[in-house]
C-alpha cells in the first residue's frame, strides 16, 4: 500500500517536469513595487536630512564639512531596503531602484556620497540650496575660482564682525 503511494508520488513529481528557473541565463520578472538599492539623485537633493532622520538603521549620515559644503553619505552596509528614505524625501531625490544583484567583495562599494553645495544666507549664516541648478551656478560662492564670489563670501563673514576686517578696500553693496 505504501509502495503504491510512493509510485504515485514519483509519477506526480515526474509529471511536474523540471521547474528550475534558468536564473543566470535569464532574468526573472520582478514583482511590482520591488525595492532594490536606493539611488540618490544629487541634482535634486536639498540637503534637508529628512532621509537620515527616518532611516531605521541609521545608515544615512549628513554632516557639514564647511559652511558651503554639506555631505550626505549613504553607507550601504546596514541598509534594509525599507524605502522610508524615499517615502519622506520632499524632492523625490531618492528612488528605490530595481537592482538586487549587489554582491561584492568590498563592502565600501555600496556607498554613495554626495557633496552638496549650500550657499549661505546673508543674514543668519545658515545654509540653503538654490531652487534650480542654474540658480545655483549664479550664486555667490559657487565657483571657487571666481574672485568676485570669494569676496562675496568673505563679505558675509565681514558683515557679522563688529569691526571692519578690511580697511583699505571698498566693499560695494550689491
Amino acid at each position: 500500500m505504501s509502495f503504491v503511494s510512493k509510485l504515485e508520488e514519483t509519477l506526480i513529481c515526474l509529471k511536474a517536469g523540471r521547474v528550475t528557473l534558468p536564473y543566470p541565463a535569464q532574468a526573472e520578472p520582478l514583482p511590482d513595487k520591488f525595492r532594490g538599492r536606493p539611488i540618490f539623485d544629487a541634482a535634486k537633493c536639498i540637503g534637508c536630512a529628512g532621509c537620515a532622520n527616518n532611516c531605521p538603521a541609521r545608515e544615512i549620515l549628513v554632516y557639514d564639512v564647511c559652511q558651503e559644503v554639506r555631505v550626505l553619505q549613504y553607507l550601504g552596509r546596514r541598509c534594509t531596503y525599507c524605502g522610508r528614505c524615499a517615502d519622506v524625501c520632499p524632492e523625490k531625490a531618492i528612488t528605490m531602484s530595481l537592482e538586487f544583484e549587489n554582491a561584492t567583495n568590498q563592502i565600501a562599494d555600496l556607498g554613495q556620497k554626495l557633496e552638496l553645495f549650500m550657499s549661505t544666507c546673508q543674514r543668519c549664516g545658515r545654509c540653503f540650496k538654490g531652487a534650480a541648478a542654474l540658480d545655483e551656478l549664479k550664486m555667490k560662492g559657487y565657483r571657487s575660482d571666481d574672485l568676485q564670489s570669494e569676496r562675496w563670501v568673505y563679505r558675509a563673514h565681514a558683515f557679522l564682525e563688529t569691526e571692519p576686517a578690511v580697511a583699505d578696500i571698498e566693499i560695494e553693496l550689491d
Binding site: 514519483t10 515526474l14 523540471r18
Partner: protein, 308 residues
C-alpha cells in the same frame, strides 16, 4: 603458472580500475535521477569526480582523538572495498577465484562495515560515537542476511568456491527454487541498507541528522571515505547480479560484459528511485525490519538445507 599469475594480476588491476572509474559515475547517476524525481535539474553526471578532486586538494586537518587510527581507517575502508572488487566476477571470471572462498567474501564485506566503526572511534566526538553505535546495531542485524544468501548458494551448489557460488547457484535446487526466490526477495528489500542509502543510511551518510562518524574528517581522508561509499554501491550491485541475476553472463565477450553492466545500472536506478522517494528510518524501525527479514532468511536456509 606464470601465465595464470600474470592474468590474475592483470584481471585484478582491471577489476579495480573499472570499479574506481565507474563508482563516481554511478553516484552521479544517482544524484541526477534523484534531482529529476524532485523536479529539478540536477548536478552534471560527472559531479562526483569534481567533488573527489576538490576534496583531494583541501587541507587535511588532523583532529579527533587519534589521528593515526583516522588515517588507518581511511585507507582501510577503500582498500577493503577494492579487495572485494578483485573477488567478484564483473562480466568475466573473477581474477582471484582461487584465493578465497565464500567465507572470505563474507568476512571482507563485514570488514567494510567495521571500517566505519573504526573511523567513528578514531574521531571520538559524541556525534561520531552515537553514529557508530547505530551502525553497530544495524550491522549485527544486517550482515547475516547476505551471509545467509551466500550460504544458501553454497548449500545448493555443494561447494564454497566463489566461481560456483556466484553463478546464480541459489536457484539450482530441484523443482521450484523456493529458497532462492525467498532470498531474492529478502536481499532486494534490504539492499538499500547494504549500500548505505536512504532509507537506511542511519550511520554514515547522515550528515543531515547528525554529522555521524565522518564528522572529523576533512580533505583527502574524506575523499577516501566518499570513494569507498560510492564503490560499495558498485560492489554490492555486482555481487547481487552475480548471485541472483546471472542469466546471460555466459555470452561472448562484449555482450556478456555489457549485459552485466546494464543489469548493474538497472539496479542502481532501482536504488535511486527508492532513495528519492523515501524518508530515513529510525534505528528501531530499521532493526525491527531487519529482524523480520532475518527470520524469513532463516526459513529459507532451512528450506535450502532440505534441498528446496
Amino acid at each position: 603458472m606464470n601465465g595464470s599469475l600474470i592474468w590474475t594480476i592483470v584481471a585484478g588491476v582491471l577489476n579495480i580500475g573499472i570499479v574506481l572509474l565507474v563508482a563516481p559515475l554511478c553516484q552521479g547517476v544517482l544524484r541526477k535521477v534523484t534531482a529529476r524525481v524532485q523536479s529539478r535539474q540536477g548536478p552534471p553526471l560527472a559531479q562526483p569526480y569534481f567533488d573527489l578532486l576538490k576534496l583531494l586538494g583541501k587541507e587535511d586537518i588532523e583532529s579527533g582523538q587519534s589521528p593515526v587510527m583516522q588515517r588507518f581507517a581511511a585507507y582501510l575502508s577503500l582498500a577493503t572495498v577494492l579487495t572485494v572488487a578483485c573477488l567478484l566476477p564483473m562480466g568475466f571470471a573473477a581474477p582471484m577465484n582461487h584465493a578465497g572462498d565464500v567465507i572470505l567474501l563474507i568476512y571482507l564485506l563485514t570488514l567494510c562495515g567495521v571500517c566505519t566503526l573504526l573511523s567513528g572511534l578514531a574521531a571520538g566526538s559524541t556525534y561520531s560515537l552515537v553514529g557508530i553505535s547505530r551502525e553497530m546495531m544495524s550491522m549485527i542485524a544486517l550482515e547475516p542476511l547476505f551471509a545467509i544468501a551466500l550460504i544458501v548458494g553454497a548449500v545448493h551448489s555443494g561447494s564454497f568456491r566463489l566461481d560456483t557460488v556466484l553463478r546464480g547457484s541459489v536457484y539450482t535446487a530441484g523443482g521450484v527454487p523456493w529458497s532462492g526466490m525467498i532470498m531474492l526477495g529478502v536481499i532486494l528489500l534490504s539492499f538499500q541498507a547494504f549500500v548505505q542509502r536512504v532509507p537506511f543510511d542511519i550511520s554514515e551518510a547522515e550528515t543531515e541528522l547528525m554529522e555521524g562518524p565522518l564528522m572529523e574528517y576533512s580533505g583527502p581522508k574524506l575523499a577516501l571515505f566518499k570513494y569507498a561509499h560510492m564503490a560499495k554501491l558498485v560492489i554490492y550491485s555486482a555481487l547481487f547480479v552475480a548471485l541472483f541475476v546471472p542469466w546471460g553472463s555466459a555470452l561472448m565477450f562484449p555482450f556478456g560484459w555489457l549485459l552485466f553492466w546494464g543489469k548493474v545500472l538497472v539496479l542502481v536506478l532501482l536504488v535511486t528511485l527508492v532513495a528519492a522517494t523515501h524518508a530515513r528510518y529510525r534505528i528501531d524501525q530499521a532493526l525491527r525490519f531487519f529482524a523480520s527479514l532475518f527470520v524469513v532468511a532463516l526459513v529459507a536456509l532451512v528450506l535450502a538445507s532440505y534441498g528446496h
